[in-house]
Amino acid sequence: MIEVEHLVKSYGQSRAVNDISFRVEKGEILGFLGPNGAGKTTTMRILAGYLPATSGTARIAGFDVLDQSLEVRRRIGYLPETPPLYPDMSVGAYLAFVARIKGVAEGEVAKSVEDAMRMAVITDKKDELIKRLSRGYKQRVGIAQAIIHKPDVIILDEPTVGLDPNQIKEVRSLVKNLAGQHTIILSTHILSEVEISCDRVVIIDKGRIADIDTTRNLAAKYKHGERLKIVVKGNEPGLRGLLESLEGINQVEIENDGHGQVGALVESAQGLDLRAPIAARIANAGFELLELRAVNLSLEDIFMRLTTKEEQEVKAEEPEKVEETAEAVEKTEEAVEPEKVETAEKAE
């Protein structure tokens, strides 16, 4: 349904999008994941026919986005980063206007508006002025606008940004409902979001595709070994000593909270289950075992691995990046509990 080949977009010297290629099959949900400024919005704008690519091609439903722009625009629904709304219009009037410019036949405008409002769960706001709506409702009107003409392809740029947790859930289920009949590309910088809603993920960083695969395959690919999370009551050197002396341990990261509780993140060789021996050793050392569990590699960890690698290379030239990396490391540690991170993101 969507074929992108060697897409490049340069602004003067800098390349916002640098040689991106991918395909999306019909009915698939593709997640676009990357830090802010990675080139997500630019790529989506090119696909939507708003910006021309510097080189490379993009085709939607067989039509070139540049040469057959009108054909492409007939087949896409697009929600830009900020929902494109007219504050002085009522929701119903606005959607009727959008339906008309999207080429919905006059006799079907009313029905399209009803359908889109039902899908986006905004039917009760039909006569409300858009400027009086909350952020969440505005976002949903923006989504309704993107689906009103039942396009083959729906492009959503950060559809959940600025929403509260309940609204995010609603938008996600809305996206899930749209899948199947529509092909969807959505971008986000929230990792758990892609994990929940998308079939496949494109990880994009500094205009390049760092990787592209299903979330499960990505996890398998970047898993270098088994990971365990341990929390004990005891002292740090003791814990470190007993863990590092174990056979098959590759890496130990100690986390000391200073109040007698010591945590550790242990990476061991693939296929090795060290939970029982570790528990035994901790008991022998006289520490109280508070927590011991296997940790799955989250998308967040994969993302960090893919993106910080490059960041370290440029660190020297761009000192401000150091701070970002530090922040990012903090996040990785939290990633053990993805739900927590998600709420923190929302709280912003």
């Binding site: 602004y11 704008r45 939507a48 026919g49 708003y50 910006l51 021309p52 009108l70 625009r73 007939r74 896409i76 697009y78 830009p80 980063e81 900020t82 929902p83 494109p84 709304l85 007219y86 504050p87 002085d88 219009m89 009037a93 206007f97 959008v98 008309r100 410019i101 999207k102 080429g103 006059e106 606008q145």
Partner: protein, 262 residues
């Protein structure tokens, strides 16, 4: 056509949900009404004087009051329009950009041509709504007019004023399509119109080769032939060209948004 109509309807609606249209039309009617009665008063006085002098020296009275009123009033309307049109056009494209709705219009299956034309027709409708009530002034004058009201001159005068207004709207919209926000657009449009006005009043009455060329190019000159009852093809084509140029440039400007960094 459908696309143009959809844009037209939304645009016209947006004029009337904001207070700007009401304020502009209201002010326009108050100002023109005042000027109209003023012009009428002065001209009637002058014609009395002429009549009295005529009585003294035996020459017949030679002042055609209705015709002079129409001509002078057309001049007043155009001057007021120079000040009001920027307020009507400043937001036309600049607001769409600021709100991000331009991105939606540009990614919808409608062409720049449809967007520009829809918006232009909406502003023309507003212009017509602004001018129409002033016809009442003429109707009142016609009741007491002696010799009979020259309706033809009035209609051709209004055609000239309307064409001039349309040209200003096309230029103002173009400037709005270039500006970041509506304040910038409004100020820039106002300055451009003020320059047109300054140049125009500077060249009036002078007739060197250069001022003749400038006179031909001044959009404030051409309505005058209409206000004298002549539908001059040169002036007609001049205005239509200015409008076409303004709309064309606006289309190019919208198209260039795709190429510039948004």
């Amino acid at each position: 056509m459908k696309g143009i109509l959809a844009i037209y309807r939304r645009e016209l609606g947006s004029y009337f949900v904001s207070p700007i249209a009401y304020v502009v039309i209201g002010f326009f009617l108050i100002a023109t009404g005042d000027f109209f009665s003023n012009i009428l008063e002065i001209l009637i006085e002058r014609s009395f004087m002429a009549q009295m002098q005529g009585g003294q020296f035996g020459a017949p009275p030679a002042i055609d009051v209705p015709m002079l009123v129409i001509r002078n009033f057309a001049g007043v309307i155009t001057t007021i329009m120079l000040f009001l049109v920027p307020m009507l056009t400043m937001g036309v494209y600049a607001e769409e950009r600021r709100r991000g709705t331009m991105e939606m219009l540009m990614t919808s299956p409608i062409s720049e041509f449809q967007i520009v034309l829809g918006k232009f027709f909406a502003s023309l409708t507003l212009l017509a709504a602004m001018l129409a009530p002033t016809l009442v002034y003429h109707a009142v004058m016609a009741r007491f007019s002696e010799p009979a009201m020259p309706w033809q001159i009035m209609w051709s005068g209004y055609l000239g004023v309307f064409l001039l207004g349309a040209s200003l709207l096309a230029l103002g919209s173009f400037i709005s399509s270039l500006a970041e926000d509506q304040i910038n657009a409004g100020v820039a449009t106002f300055i451009v119109f003020l320059m047109l006005w300054t140049i125009d009043s500077r060249i009036r009455g002078s007739s060197t080769v250069w001022t003749e060329i400038l006179k031909y190019l001044s959009i404030l000159q051409h309505y005058d032939t209409f206000a004298q009852g002549v539908i001059d093809t040169t002036s007609l084509i001049f205005y239509l060209s200015v409008i076409a140029l303004g709309l064309f440039l606006t289309m190019r400007s919208l198209d260039s948004m795709r190429w510039r960094r948004a």
